[in-house]
Subunit: 492 residues, 2 copies
C-alpha cells in the first residue's frame, strides 16, 4: 500500500490532511487558500446538497441567484456586517488586462480600466440581497420571502485548511423577509432544526443546538443560533448557523412594507447557512486510521463488489452473478460499483475502498457462488461475515441502515462522554488540556470574561444550549454570580 | 392587467426584456451587467441543469469544483486563450478593506493589502484546470479524465442583456483529457450531440450542428463545434459549443503522460459549455405577445388548476375534487399547483399563468363537477377544450407530451423556412434585411472575406454544418472559388 496515512494518535492534524488528500476528496490548488474539490469529494457534497435542498423546499423555500460582486457602497451600508467582514474581502478594482509592453507574451492590469467603484467578492450576501429585496417588497402580501441561494463565497483567511477554512468555499445561504418579529424568530429556529436534522440523520453526527454569546454572533445579527458538533480530538466544530437579523438590514437598505393596517414598517430578516466545511466535520467525526468512514445515506458509493477469481472462466461466472446482485441493489436505490479492474489485486482494492470509506464491501469468489454465499464487510466496524446469496440485496439494504444508526450512536456516546461539568478554574483548565470536549461551566455573562477565558485557554463559548436549565452558580473565572451553565470548548 | 408587454412587432428587443422581467425570470441588479435570477427563472435553470447533469453522468462524466480565481501567471500561460479573454477580465488586486480615516462609517481599499500577484476572476477555467491536471496525470492509466464543473464565470461585457449577455453568468464547463487525438475529437463530437439532444428534446428548440470558421473559434481551440438555434426575429443564437483543444493546454501547462509504449506525450484536451444564456434562447424561440411559452419537460410548473367558485361551499367542494386530481397528476410525476388565492380573480390568474408560460391550465367550477367535466387550456396554441374528468390525469399527461412535440415542430418549421440559399451578393443582403434567418452561401474560406462580410452586413458565419454536401461555387463577396456552402446569419 502506497497510501499510508498518519495515525490520529501521532498527529491528528496530519491524519486529517492525509484523509482528505488520499481519500481523494480535495487537492491543493495554485491559488493561495483555495482548494480543488475532487470528483469523489464533490459527489459527497452533491449528496449533502441535494438532501438539504429537498429539506429547504419541503419547508417552503425557493432558490434564486444573486450577483457574485457587491459594490463597496452597498457592502458598507450595514455597518456592523461591513466591519465584521472588511478584513477578509477580495476586492475587484479593474476590469481589463493588456499586453505588457515591457514583457513579451505577458499581460498586465490595464491602469485605464480602473473601476469607478470597487466591487467586493461576496463574503456573504445580505447586502446585495437586501438591496434587491427593496424592489420586491411593498406590502405584507409580498411577505414572507423565503429564498435560498447555493453559491461560492470568498473570505480571505490567513491560515487555511482543506474544507475547514478555505478562502473560497461553497455554501448555501438562506435569506428570508418577514412581516413580524415573531415570524422571523420562528423561521430562524425552524432552520436551525432543519440543520440539526440533516447533520444528525444524514451525516450521523450528533449536535447541540444553542445560541451564541454576543461575542460570537454573526456581524449584523441580533441573535445567532448554532449547531455544534464534537470531533474525535475533543475539539468542537460549528456545523451551521441561523441568524435572526432583526430589522438591521431593512433599516440599512430602507426596506419597508405596508402592513395589514396600512402602516409602514421595516421588514424583519433571517439568514442561515452551511458550507463545504461540513465535509471536514464529516471526515473528522467518523474516520479512523485506515481512512474515511462515510455514513451510507450520503456516501457517493454505498456498496462495492470485488470479484475474487483465477482465469477468465471464473471471472465471467462471477461477473454474471454480480450483475444479478447489482440489478437487485439498484432496484432498491442502492449506489453500487463492481470493480473488476485487472490492473489491481483484490487486496489493493480492499485497502482502496477502506481508504475511501465505502460503507459495505462484498467479496465474491467462485467457491462462494458454489456455496451460494458471499462475504460482507462493514467499513465502520470492520466486521466481516459470510452470508447467503439468497436475499442478499435486502440484507445489504438493512445493513446500510444499521451502519447509519451505529455510526450515529457511536458518535453520540463519544460526544455525551465529552460533556463535562467544571466548577472551578483549575478543573476547567485541566479538563480542557486533558480530556477536551464540551465543558459545562458557569459564566458571568460578560464579553470581557469570555475574552479573558479565550486568551488564557483558547476555549470559547460554543453555545448556550436551547432549553438550558437555569442554575445558580459562580463564574469559573471571576466568581461573579451566574444563572446558567454554558458550553465551552476549543474549536475548529 | 398591469402586466402588459410590448408586442414582438412593435419592438422585439423590448418584448424580450418585458418577458424576462414580467415573467419573473430575472431582475436587474445594483452591479453593472450582473442580473438577479429570480426564483421562477432559477427553477427553470435547475430543471435544465438537472437534465444536462444526468446526460453528462450517463456519458461517463463526473463533477468537480475548481477555484474561482486564476493567478495571472497561469492565466497568461496559454497565449491565445489569454489574449482572447484579456479584455474582459475582472481582476482582484487587494484582499482587505479598512476604515476610511477621512470618511466616517465608510470603508476604503487597504493599500497595504495589495496582492503580490493579481487574481483573475475566471472567464473560463482551462488554465486553472490544466494546471491542476498536471498533478493528476502521469500515465495512460490516469486517462481519460472526464470532468465537468457547474460554476459562475465573469466576462466583463460593455453591452449586456438579461440572460443573453451578462458580466456574470452560470454555466457548466466540461474539461476532458485524453491519450489520443482521435479520442479527444470523438469526445468533442459526443458532447455536441448531447447538447443538441438536450436543446431539441428538452427545450424544444431545433439546432444546426456544425463547426465554426477559424475566426469564430474559441481562443485556444483547434476546432470549435457548435449548435446554432434560430430566434423568432430571424437572428441566430449559439446555444452551445464543444472545443477540440488539441495539445495546446497540455503544452502550455506541461502536462505529459507515458503511453502504453512507455513514451512521454502531451495530453489531448476538449472543453465544452452551455450557460444561462440558454434561458434567453428558450424565451425568444417560443414565447408570444401574451408572455412566456415554456416546454413541458423543463417548465417549473406544468399544470395549474384554477377554481371558479362562488362562496365557501363551492370552494370547498371544488377543493376536494382538485385534491384528487392533483394526487393523480403528482403520481404521474407532473408538477402541478392549485391556485385558490382569494386576493386575485380567475381572470387575473389566467393572465398571470399565461405570462409565466405554464403549459396547461385547468379551470374547475361547480357546474363542471356536476357534469363530470373540466376545462383544459393549452398555453402554446391557446386552444381550450372541455373534457371528461374521467382519466383527466392521463389526458393531461398525454397533452403535455403533445405540447412538447408541437412546440418543437412549430420551431422546426419556422427554422427550416428560414434557411435560404443566396447566390449573389445582392440576394444575400436582401435576404438578410428582409427575411433574416440562416443564409446558405458560398464563401472563399478566408478570414478576411468573413471579416469584410461582417463589417458590411453584421452577419457572421454561424457554422459549417456537419455532413455538409460538397458543392462547387463562387464566394458571394469575392467571386473566388468555393467548395461548399456555409450558414451565415446575424446573431445574438
Amino acid at each position: 500500500m502506497s497510501k499510508e496515512i498518519t495515525s490520529r494518535a501521532a498527529d491528528y492534524s496530519q491524519w486529517y490532511n492525509d484523509l482528505v488528500l488520499k481519500g481523494e476528496l480535495a487537492d491543493y490548488s495554485a491559488v493561495r487558500g483555495c482548494m480543488v474539490i475532487k470528483p469523489y469529494g464533490y459527489a459527497l457534497w452533491e449528496n449533502m446538497r441535494d438532501a438539504l435542498d429537498k429539506m429547504f423546499k419541503d419547508t417552503g423555500h425557493v432558490n434564486a441567484y444573486f450577483p457574485l460582486f457587491v459594490p463597496k457602497s452597498l457592502f458598507e451600508a450595514e455597518e456592523k456586517n461591513a466591519e465584521g467582514f472588511a478584513k477578509e474581502c477580495a476586492i475587484v478594482t479593474h476590469y481589463r488586462l493588456k499586453t505588457d509592453p515591457n514583457n513579451k507574451g505577458k499581460l498586465m492590469v490595464d491602469p485605464e480600466a480602473k473601476l469607478e467603484e470597487e466591487l467586493i467578492v461576496r463574503p456573504t450576501s445580505e447586502a446585495i440581497i437586501w438591496n434587491t429585496y427593496k424592489g420586491w417588497i411593498q406590502s405584507y402580501r409580498d411577505l414572507p420571502l423565503l429564498i435560498n441561494q447555493w453559491a461560492n463565497v470568498v473570505r480571505w483567511e490567513m491560515r487555511t485548511r482543506l474544507f475547514l477554512r478555505t478562502a473560497e468555499f461553497l455554501w448555501q445561504e438562506g435569506h428570508t423577509a418577514h412581516a413580524t418579529k415573531a415570524e422571523a424568530i420562528e423561521e430562524t429556529e425552524k432552520m436551525l432544526h432543519v440543520y440539526a436534522d440533516f447533520v444528525e440523520n444524514w451525516m450521523a453526527v450528533p449536535v447541540i443546538k444553542g445560541v451564541k454569546s454576543a461575542n460570537e454572533r454573526f456581524a449584523g445579527a441580533e441573535d445567532t443560533y448554532c449547531i455544534e458538533a464534537l470531533m474525535q480530538d475533543g475539539k468542537a466544530l460549528q456545523a451551521g448557523t441561523s441568524h435572526f437579523l432583526g430589522q438591521n438590514f431593512a433599516k440599512a437598505f430602507d426596506v419597508k412594507f405596508s402592513n395589514k393596517e396600512n402602516q409602514l414598517d421595516y421588514v424583519w430578516a433571517t439568514s442561515w447557512g452551511v458550507s463545504t466545511r461540513l465535509v471536514g466535520a464529516l471526515v473528522m467525526a467518523h474516520s479512523d486510521d485506515q481512512g474515511l468512514i462515510l455514513p451510507p445515506r450520503i456516501a457517493p458509493l454505498q456498496v462495492v463488489i470485488v470479484p475474487i477469481y483465477k482465469g477468465d472462466e471464473q471471472k465471467a461466472m462471477i461477473g454474471t452473478k454480480a450483475d444479478a446482485i447489482i440489478k437487485e441493489l439498484k432496484a432498491l436505490g442502492i449506489r453500487v460499483k463492481y470493480d473488476d479492474n485487472e490492473n489491481t489485486r483484490p487486496g489493493w482494492k480492499f485497502a482502496e475502498y477502506e481508504m475511501k470509506g465505502v460503507p459495505v464491501r462484498l467479496a465474491l469468489g467462485a467457491r462462494d457462488i458454489e456455496k451460494n454465499e458471499i462475504e460482507v464487510a462493514r467499513r465502520d466496524t470492520k466486521e466481516k461475515r459470510v452470508v447467503s446469496l439468497d436475499g442478499i440485496a435486502q440484507y445489504v439494504e438493512s445493513l446500510l441502515k444499521d451502519i447509519q444508526q451505529y455510526m450515529y450512536n457511536k458518535a453520540l456516546v463519544y460526544r455525551d462522554e465529552h460533556i463535562t461539568k467544571a466548577d472551578s478554574w483549575d478543573e476547567f483548565v485541566k479538563l480542557l488540556d486533558e480530556k477536551g470536549g464540551f465543558i459545562s461551566a458557569h459564566w458571568d455573562g460578560t464579553g470581557e470574561t469570555e475574552d479573558a477565558i479565550k486568551e488564557k485557554t483558547k476555549a470559547t463559548i460554543r453555545c448556550i444550549p436551547l432549553n438550558n436549565e437555569p442554575e445558580a452558580g459562580q463564574c469559573i473565572l471571576t466568581g461573579k454570580p451566574s444563572t446558567q451553565r454554558v458550553l465551552f470548548a476549543r474549536a475548529y
